[in-house]
Symmetry: D2
Subunit: 308 residues, 4 copies
């Protein structure tokens, strides 16, 4: 069984897409193929059932089936499971299922309910109470999607008071200073380190690493770019890391279109042979012919650049 | 079996709370008692699994169980079922189940996904396609909760193009002019009437009726106030309707606190004997001792006023 | 010169409308008449250039002229001046002008710029630095308008660290528990009392007083209702205060329509002879004939109730 | 005097920053130097007093002074003036002043007041009425900043009904499909062409041009990159345009951090000698030492890439 996430976790946890057939059913064959694709590109771990995994459009049974398929395939590779839910009982049930199956931890975003920092604080304590202290939690800080901005002080307070909050999925935007502030806090005595993996498409990954982040947790359809950037950076080859990364920026920024980017991402994964269909589940973004041609062009330009 | 909702539907469709035990399970005994309570107070119909029914914190199975319990109890009384969901397939599945069980129609709010009027339009066409033309739809227009304001022109266009969109749950705020605009549109030839039932706690019900609304669709814990106000108004006794209504305003406005009001509502329902526990499902608002005393006071004042 | 606001200030600070001519110019004659109207109804103080005073649609010179006219008329009556502005220099300049003219303090809302509690905190410290320690500040907490919810803990922290933050304009919604929390904090040693005046149209004024608020700061067009409610409450005649208040609720809740309510308020002030024209400045809400008739009806019903 | 903007305007209208001294005063010397810098890099026109120009933190007199300084320096070069304001009279006054001084048109964003497409429509008609038909208008469509998403259908309707709405500042995100939709609309008979200049930092400029945009209206601190990209594209050298652009993406995406990016932009302008101080007006973002070092690094990497 895989190691659980902890305060020293680093590397690339790829946010896994969920493949659907053109009819909207979960395509488990493609899901297995996709897991192999991610593993083949050297990721450190997987994060499934996140926002980009379209979990909110699935039934509970479907989410469980996705967990089954992925965990049957990943072996020693750690898998974080997104369990955010409007209901605390649903959240806990899914978390228990995932942990029993061997997940490495769960990811929770502040719910739409609480709209003030003191309410978010109460909410996360309730989540930890309900999960029990053994379940490692990754705090997903994504104000652009949740509408709930959170101060670094609150993240730190929660992480200090709850041993199980070991990781931050950092996707505030702009968020570089937040990393610096969080790392500075850790210089004080008695402050426990927090693993920081960066999301938000990876658009500022080199800068985030230079500020002290531990890696990436995002779903870019070229996971090798994330893996190599993080590896080079951790090997002290900071400039090479950024040189490599910069070659991918044009298509990465294209994937980083809120709401629509998922369609691009799935299209690229399909073109790369990782999944059978680029379909998102309804209601979801769809690629037009012109969107597809535009993405083809960006892929071709990337290929030429990598060869050149 | 109950009649389906249509463009001439009027009266009071009470938004039903979902009773939970203190442990967070659905309390079906209380649910049956609550249905009897609503019927005993003369409501025209019920709306279940709406936002105030905490549907988003239930599993699919639980929602189906609520439908079963309610529809086994309501007989000829029409029941509208809230089916809003981030996923279109989940929405459709629940709608089919409800209609098969004898529901009078379904209620759908614009999903958080689409954030522009053209996207909301596309979304509702997709919903109607997926439901099939036989399922009557109530459009829930509640920008304070959805974050998605909608022009009267769009509501009308959808209602003209889709015969099945027969009803508006009106809870824009301020929204009195919207009713006037919608009714004015219907003076043009070829424009089909829309049933308009008002939500938003009922805070402006007399004014809404005077503007041309057909009744109420909200969950005030004194349903008799809504029933009598609407009945008096429809009997042409407009002043009496408003006199009656005004006596309830102090407690009605207390129930009309966004997010927190549901706790007050359930507390009043419990005190009135309609349900066993005032608990909301986590994460949900909770009454403190001071909250309870405050509501007790408002209930006592109402009682005194009604007697006086 | 009037006394400045302080941590023990109580009573009714009426939010003054700004009268305009039908051509959109500031009507200083009406402004003087309006000040007399407010004073005649027994208010404790005035708050000018707030959101409902349409300050954001005026030039700097116009704001100064409003300050001049009002302060020339109010004598010993304290006047709080709203100085919120996107720019700190503009804010400070207006505040200096107002204080030099004899204002009792200034009111500041979190600016649209900072969107996280730590940023709001930094912002208020910068405001206090720029104002200097002698200028008393009223913190306007109005998330429905600013989009910036604030925890009671942050309000307290600012009020503890900055002696000059002496007053809270409370208009969070729901916000009753917030008052209880703030008053509970003051039971701890070393915590300075905060004057709490309630806005938000006054919809929950009796409850707010019962929770420990010191009075009202809102612009209801029947200021006598606020004045008498607060006076009766402070005289220990709590039930009478609420009885009196409840008679005004139907029209008060009509004035309490976000965005549109200002048009109703000015219309009522005009009908009561306090100002010459009900016009708001463009772009602003306008009363249609049906809106006017509806408000006339509510006014007549109130009059009948007060006589009855 | 410069030509006014019209439906066929193309090229690069650079969004001009407003230079301040470290004390927060407008630095007119730097403003003149900055205009020369922009002109020297070949821009087609200037847009002043936009959001990134910090206009909302200036007094009316200061805005007029900026107009004076810029228009005294630009000669034949067209200058668009941002005039968005909460008050319609202030908007109109500034627009009149600007047009009298020789501006090429004005830019208006939907105001925070109206929150529904029908209200935005009414608002823009009121703006056009107030401006008079001779003033060319650029519609700024920037939902991330205004909170007001707008359908392409509404933009088109306004542009058809008001001859003076000749240009769209396109900064919806994602927004590529919007360009395609707007251009497709123009294939119908009787539909007037709209000039489309793209903002949003320029992050997708090559794609936007390929979709039919006419150029850029954004404030990237390397205006030569925008100028050359647009020129190459318009010369039919589409691949070269994108090759050139891609070299700038790493630093462009760094400048494209909402709220904070303005500090980066001004820092780069200062380092390039275009302005004396990187200060923004309070409350505004500030560069820390680490922010500065990070930007230095990105500038150095760009320089190396351009040489390489």
């Amino acid at each position: 069984m895989a190691e659980r996430i902890n305060r020293d976790t680093r590397g690339v946890y790829i946010i896994a897409a969920t493949p659907f057939t053109d009819q909207g059913d979960i395509d488990h064959d493609s899901l297995r193929r996709l897991v192999d694709f991610y593993i083949g590109h050297g990721v450190t771990g997987l994060t499934i059932l996140g926002m980009m995994g379209e979990a909110n459009k699935m039934t509970g049974d479907e989410r469980r089936a996705v967990i089954d398929t992925v965990l049957a395939r990943t072996g020693d590779l750690p898998v974080v499971v997104g369990v955010s839910d409007a209901g605390l009982a649903n959240l806990t049930d899914l978390a228990s299922y995932a942990m029993d199956e061997g997940a490495a931890g769960v990811m929770v975003a502040p719910s739409a309910g609480p709209a003030r920092e003191d309410r978010i604080e109460v909410y996360f304590h309730a989540v930890c109470e309900a999960l029990g202290p053994e379940v490692p939690v990754c705090f997903q800080d994504f104000p652009l999607a949740t509408g709930l901005p959170v101060s670094p002080a609150l993240i730190r307070r929660l992480s200090q008071e709850r041993d199980q909050i070991v990781m931050l999925k950092h996707e505030d935007w702009p968020g570089l200073t937040k990393i610096t502030q969080l790392r500075k806090q850790e210089e004080a005595p008695g402050v426990a380190r927090l693993s920081i993996l960066c999301g938000n498409g990876g658009l500022y990954l080199p800068q985030e690493l230079q500020r002290g982040a531990d890696g990436a947790m995002t779903g870019f359809a070229y996971p090798e770019a994330l893996v190599q950037t993080v590896a080079l950076h951790h090997a002290g080859r900071v400039d090479e890391a950024e040189d490599l990364f910069d070659r991918y920026i044009p298509i990465l920024r294209h994937e980083q279109q809120p709401g629509f980017g998922l369609a691009v991402r799935k299209y690229v994964l399909m073109k790369r042979g990782a999944i059978a269909s680029a379909a998102t589940r309804a209601p979801g973004p769809k690629m037009s012919a012109i969107d597809a041609a535009e993405t083809d062009r960006l892929m071709a330009r990337l290929e030429a650049r990598l060869k050149g």
